[in-house]
């Protein structure tokens, strides 16, 4: 059988093309042949100039204007067919030699060789030898030789082609003339035409007449063939008709069929191939007849069935090709299936091969891809039966053509289809949920048995054909897609065939089909530095505001609606800063998988991945981290990983694995490679939008002296030094420090000016930032009061819980990097800022425990003496509101001052009881902050803290600390304190109450804020007790007594005597009172208010037993002057002196007391005296003064 038969076959002239005259390089030969083969059609009109009519042409109806001769160049020639008498088109009618002159110097020899070669082609009528690129000498020599050599002088391709066309037209003309000669001779002389069918059957004498008729018929048929070859269908038709008649008469069935076939062809040529349904019907009818006749001829002679059946098949194929249109599919299918059924009766394997190839081709033309694939596979099997490399290569090629129909295409060959499947995949991923049926359609390739068989055959054939890459690809596809259906042994076999193939491949070769492992995206772990990238708004200076959740709500409805959140989550990478991506690998097969290297494959080209190598044990999955560095600004697209495994580099796309997993979830794909490796189910991770921004500064921080948590006692004040360095490659130009987290108020100060002054912080530069912390108070819930030892562990836990405050640095590089970001086309023209969060790890431990606070009052009587500091002196010195009882010329730092003039009557002390449950000793200091008014004399001492002496509290002990409250007294009682009370006194009681309470609270707070209780423990821990609440409750009731001075101050002093005494006595008498001596004294009464006070003064003296010793029976003191009922008026802020004398009869201790009843008291005084009713007399009493009376003896 012959390949590629069609209706046209009958009219095609075969020309053998023989390379002659030495070796021709393959590519040059190919070039010559390609030049030659483009002229396979020669129009009759173009050859008329070469055609010479020697005698009257037998082709009377030759269409010179429209007809054409068709050539078929048989490269290398072919041996003569036994059937060439039967079908003239099988003859080689001309021989063309091709000679490459540079490889054969002697052209004469070439001509001889060619002539010799031509003798093998007995049927050939015309010989030509085309000699290309001859040298000048050869041109000269060849020009005058009389042979078939045609020289093609070297020139450009176009003119060579023109030359070639001309030569072929000449050849065609010669052929035409030869045909004429042959036809004329055959008509006149007749020829003996035989086929192999006739060989044995001799012509008996009784059949001589029949034989002669047969011979005539056959001659007519052959003449018809020549007419067809000469492109004269009308002549051919005439001869065929005669031939058919004769054959029918003689019962020459076989030749009858041949003639009929020729007449159908003639009919078609005559009608110029137009698809006239009438002609089509005619042709169909004739051809069915032809097929019938051939079948009949073989039936009549079953021994020859094998040889005639090929003509029947050829006829069927010709008809099928002619009809091959979709509308006539049924008919064509019938023809082809009939032909395929005959395959078994073909003896020659080659014939069967050709049959299947043709059937497959026709099915393919018809659009029946699966049928075509089926027959292609049959072809491949036939090829594989032949045991040679060429056949194996053919088998491999044919099988890979079937791959598409079986859905096992190599990705490299089906780039387009995979691209469109990618699209569907992505839309599917975005849609999230898809209709189940369309999910099903994603996994169309379910004929797994067939697919495996075909892949295995591809593998086998490519191994035999010696194509390691194809073998690798087939084995990879087989292993990846069908591992669940392959036994572990088979899997190992495939693995070894993969490595065997790889051995024969050059290293670093890539293959479009990926093998193992399966790779899916696990997650994008967010690097802390990436999490803290904050978009900067060029218009907003404080871009850091609002970037951190500011309110008490974690979720705010306003931030949700912003356009940034509507897109997929985005990741920003920074040029030059390494990143990590976690992927999960799975090896579901039964062998150890060694991945030589795996790295992220990035199409955008702005990423520098770091390869790693992995070893996966059988049936295992592993999560690995793939890292890399972004190199350029712009978006990064990570479609998958590049894997170097089994010696070949392949691309593994995440999307494909996602599809597999999705299919597995639906039960559509054989198996989930991750699940069968024991890896858990994972939500499909979509690759986020990743963009790379230009380098940003990167601050790193560490606490000087170690990053561990500072263990502090409650209230302890601690300095932390935080060192901040710029690890990036861009200077920090903007920085802002803020606080967040819990216990923010425990950060007392941040020396942010240290950072600000260091800006711009160059890359590599460091700044140290001191931060002062005050340990917060543990809440009562966390502290078990009984066991202080547990406090440490509980507080440690607390600090882990995140009770530590966070220091938040917002910083940014220069905003001039704009130019480079324009590449990315992003709308924000300023590189983003960043945030660094430094947790201030503080572990709060319970420290000094406050037990209670009490207000105590204390009386210490003053001594009477001569040289009291005169209050009027003070008044002279300073006209302002100086506390008269405080000596101004001495301001010692001791809080504890017993004022002898004032006495210490009604001294009020705040007692704090503190216990120490800790392991260390504490020392407590009380500081009182005094904001004294300006004093011209000694400004140095203003605004200073007075402190008491230290109190040490040992571990597990309690102690009390006394705080005197004297310093807070106001100098003057005036209505300013109560002014508001007075103004609104008449209005509303409740509002007065409220206001006075508020006043009170304010004054208490003012007072409390001045008192600080600090402690110190060990060498370097110190702090402050936070006991304001306790203070407040202790002082609440008696704040007025503390703050306001008494309206009247009473003082006593000895009247200065005349200095008549001797100096020796003067020492004794100084400040001393002697018995039996009249002692002059003065009572000083000072009005502390701003109003005149009228009062009745009385002075008493008591002895040590407390009895009044001036009045009564047993009075031991005599007096002169008025001591009771003295009516005096004291002007505001003035002092008056009342003199009197006492005469002590008995030495001992006495106490002088002044008292007064104020007449017409103002409201202020009443309020101060806590009177209940307005008519109640206001009684004022001074502090007692002690008098020691010495005996005179």
């Amino acid at each position: 059988m012959e390949p590629d038969v069609s209706m046209e076959t009958c009219r095609i002239i075969r020309i053998a093309v023989l390379p002659t005259g030495g070796e021709i390089p393959a590519d040059i030969l190919r070039h010559y042949i390609s030049m030659l083969s483009q002229f396979n059609t020669v129009d009759l009109s173009s050859i008329s100039s070469f055609y010479v009519e020697h005698q009257k042409s037998p082709f009377a109806h030759q269409p010179w204007d429209s007809g054409s001769l068709l050539f078929k160049f048989v490269i290398g020639g072919e041996s003569a067919s036994a059937w060439e008498d039967f079908q003239s088109n099988r003859k080689i009618l001309a021989v063309v030699g091709i000679c490459h002159c540079p490889s054969c110097p002697d052209l004469g020899e070439v001509a001889n060789d060619f002539a010799k070669e031509c003798t093998d082609y007995k049927s050939s009528l015309v010989h030509r030898c085309f000699a290309f690129s001859p040298s000048d000498a050869q041109l000269e020599a060849g020009g005058n030789k009389e042979n078939d050599l045609v020289l093609f002088p070297p020139s450009d391709r176009r003119s060579q082609e023109l030359h070639m066309q001309t030569m072929l037209q000449d050849l065609a003309a010669s052929l035409l003339m030869e045909f004429e000669k042959y036809v004329l001779r055959a008509e006149s002389v007749g020829t003996i035409l035989k086929t192999p069918l006739d060989s044995q059957a001799g012509f008996g004498s009784e059949e001589m007449i029949k034989a002669k008729k047969k011979r005539l018929g056959r001659a007519q048929k052959t003449i018809g063939d020549y007419c067809l070859l000469a492109a004269s269908p009308l002549d051919a038709n005439a001869h065929y008709t005669t031939g058919i008649e004769l054959a029918r008469l003689t019962g020459d069935v076989f030749w009858h069929a041949g003639a009929l076939e020729g007449s159908a062809c003639a009919l078609l040529i005559d009608r110029e191939d137009n698809r006239d349904p009438v002609i089509e019907e005619e042709v169909k009818y004739r051809y069915y007849n032809v097929i019938q006749l051939y079948r009949r001829s073989s039936v009549s002679d079953s021994a020859q069935r094998a040889s005639t059946v090929r003509f029947e098949l050829e006829a069927a194929l010709k008809l099928a090709r002619y009809l091959c249109r979709h509308e006539l599919a049924k008919e064509v299918v019938e023809l082809l299936m009939g032909a395929a059924d005959c395959a078994k009766s073909l003896i020659d394997a080659n014939d069967r091969l050709i049959l299947f190839i043709e059937v497959a081709r026709l099915f393919g033309t018809l659009g029946y891809q699966r049928k075509a694939a089926f027959f292609s596979r049959q072809v491949a099997q036939l090829y594989l039966q032949q045991d040679n490399t060429c056949a194996s290569i053919s088998a491999m090629k044919v099988l890979s053509m079937t791959a598409k129909a079986y859905h096992i295409e190599s990705k490299g060959s089906s780039y387009k289809s995979s691209a469109c499947s990618n699209e569907s995949g992505s839309s599917h991923a975005e849609g999230g949920k898809l209709h189940p049926s369309s999910i099903v359609s994603l996994y169309e390739s379910q004929w797994s048995t067939l697919q495996m068989v075909v892949l295995r055959e591809i593998l086998l054939s490519s191994v035999r054909a010696g194509d390691p890459l194809a073998a690798w690809s087939a084995a990879a596809r087989l292993l990846r897609s069908y591992y669940p259906l392959i036994t572990p042994v088979g899997q190992s076999g495939l693995a070894s065939s993969l490595s065997n193939s790889a051995e024969r491949l050059p290293s670093g070769i890539r293959c479009a089909d990926s093998a193992l492992p399966f790779i899916r995206l696990h997650s994008f772990p967010v690097h802390p530095s990436q999490a803290d990238i904050i978009k900067r708004n060029p218009n907003n200076e404080g871009w850091w505001m609002g970037s951190a959740p500011s309110g008490p709500f974690i979720y705010t409805p306003f931030s949700k609606g912003s356009p940034n959140d509507s897109t997929k989550h985005e990741i920003t990478w920074i040029v030059g800063e390494p990143i990590d991506v976690l992927v999960e690998l799975a090896n579901p097969c039964g062998f150890d998988l060694i991945v030589d290297s795996i790295y992220l494959s990035v199409q955008s080209g702005n990423f520098d991945p770091f390869p790693v190598s992995v070893n996966l044990p059988p049936n295992s999955a592993k999560v690995i981290s793939l890292s890399g560095v972004p190199t350029k600004v712009g978006p990064v697209i990570i479609p998958g990983c590049t894997v170097h495994c089994f010696g070949v580099i392949t691309e593994h796309l995440f999307k494909e694995v996602d599809n597999i997993l999705h299919g597995a979830a639906q039960g559509l794909v054989l198996s989930d490679p991750f699940r069968c490796c024991g890896s858990g189910k994972l939500k499909t991770v979509s690759v986020p939008n990743i963009s790379v921004v230009p380098p940003l500064p990167l601050l790193v921080s560490h606490v000087v002296g170690g990053d561990g948590a500072a263990v502090l006692y409650e209230g302890e004040i601690h300095n932390i030094r935080i060192s901040i360095g710029n690890a990036g490659s861009v200077p920090v130009e903007q920085a802002h420090i803020s606080l967040s987290g819990k216990n923010q108020d425990s950060v007392l100060s941040i020396a942010d000016e240290a950072l600000m002054s260091a800006l711009p912080l160059k890359p590599g530069a460091q700044v140290t930032l001191p931060v002062t912390l005050k340990a917060w108070k543990l809440s009562l819930v966390d502290v078990d009061p009984n066991s202080g030892k547990n406090a440490f562990t509980s507080s440690a836990r607390m600090s882990k819980d995140g009770s530590s405050p966070l220091l938040v640095f917002h910083y940014a590089g220069p905003s001039t990097y704009i130019a480079s970001t324009e590449i990315s086309g992003s709308s924000s023209s300023i590189p983003p800022g960043r945030r660094l969060i430094v947790p201030l790890h503080v572990c709060v431990q319970q420290g000094l425990r406050f037990v209670k606070a009490r207000l105590l009052s204390m009386d210490i009587p003053a001594r009477i003496s001569e040289n009291l500091p005169a209050p009027n002196k003070i008044l002279e010195g300073s006209s302002n509101k100086e506390i008269p009882t405080t000596p101004t010329h001495q301001t010692d730092n001791s809080l504890m001052k017993i004022d002898p003039y004032k006495g210490s009557w009604g001294l009020r002390l705040l007692e704090l009881e503190l216990s120490n449950p800790t392991d260390v000793a504490f020392e407590v200091n009380v500081y009182v902050h005094l904001d004294k008014p300006k004093k011209p004399c000694n400004t140095v001492d203003t605004d200073e803290d007075l402190c008491c002496s230290r109190t040490r509290i040992d571990r597990d002990y309690s102690s009390r600390v006394l705080i005197p409250l004297e310093h807070f007294k106001l100098p003057v009682i005036d209505d300013s304190f109560f002014s508001k009370d007075h103004k609104v006194a008449g209005d509303d009681g409740s509002s007065i109450l409220k206001q006075s309470k508020a006043e009170l609270t304010a004054s208490i707070n003012n007072l409390i804020s001045k008192i600080k209780v600090r402690w110190q423990s060990g060498r370097n821990s110190s702090g402050e007790l936070n006991i304001k609440d306790a203070f407040q409750s202790a002082l609440q009731s008696s704040v007025m007594d503390i703050l306001l001075p008494d309206p009247l101050t009473f003082g006593f002093r000895l009247k200065s005597r005349v200095e008549e005494e001797s100096s020796s006595k003067a020492r004794l008498t100084k400040g001393a009172v002697f018995a039996h001596e009249m002692t002059g004294m003065e009572a000083l009464i000072r009005n502390n208010t701003r109003e005149m006070i009228t009062m009745t003064l009385s002075i008493t003296c008591r002895d040590i037993a407390g009895d009044n010793c001036i009045e009564g029976k047993k009075s031991t003191v005599l007096w002169s002057g008025v001591l009771s009922g003295v009516a005096i008026e004291v002007p505001p802020l003035q002092e008056i002196t009342h003199s009197f004398s006492l005469y002590f009869l008995v030495p001992g201790e006495y106490t002088l007391l002044g008292a007064a009843v104020i007449d017409n008291a103002t409201d202020i005084l009443r309020a101060r005296a806590h009177t209940i009713s307005p008519d109640e007399p206001i009684f004022c009493r001074g502090s007692p003064f002690g008098v020691q009376v010495l005996g005179t003896a």
């Binding site: 299936m337 048995t449 039960g667």
Partner: protein
Amino acid sequence: MATTACFIIVSRNDIPIYEAEVGSAVKKEDAAHQHQFILHAALDIVQDLAWTTSAMFLKATDRFNDLVVSVYVTAGHILNILMLLHDSRNEDGIKSFFQEVHELYIKILLNPLYLPGSRITSSHFDTKVRALARKYL
């Protein structure tokens, strides 16, 4: 007499959702592949043919060597095809076989847990089909 028969249900996406060798002939691994190959190839013709006729049972739509493909097209959403490759000429038996299997298949479809178009894994179905094959083929 040993018969060869290979039965396949093809869903509308051309995916085989059920396949069974139901012949009584001794099974050969190679032959099973060959049967599936033939049935797969026959799909082309069946899909063309199904639209030209209203009949559900299409006998002998395709053949290769001695094996014949008979087809029963169900009234699925687009196309559901029951295909049988056989060498027996018992046309009535094949038709009855198809009808009964069709009923079974409908029962499978009625299962709310069955995703139309996915593989039929019910062993009950398998047993029934094989029983039917023994009965009719």
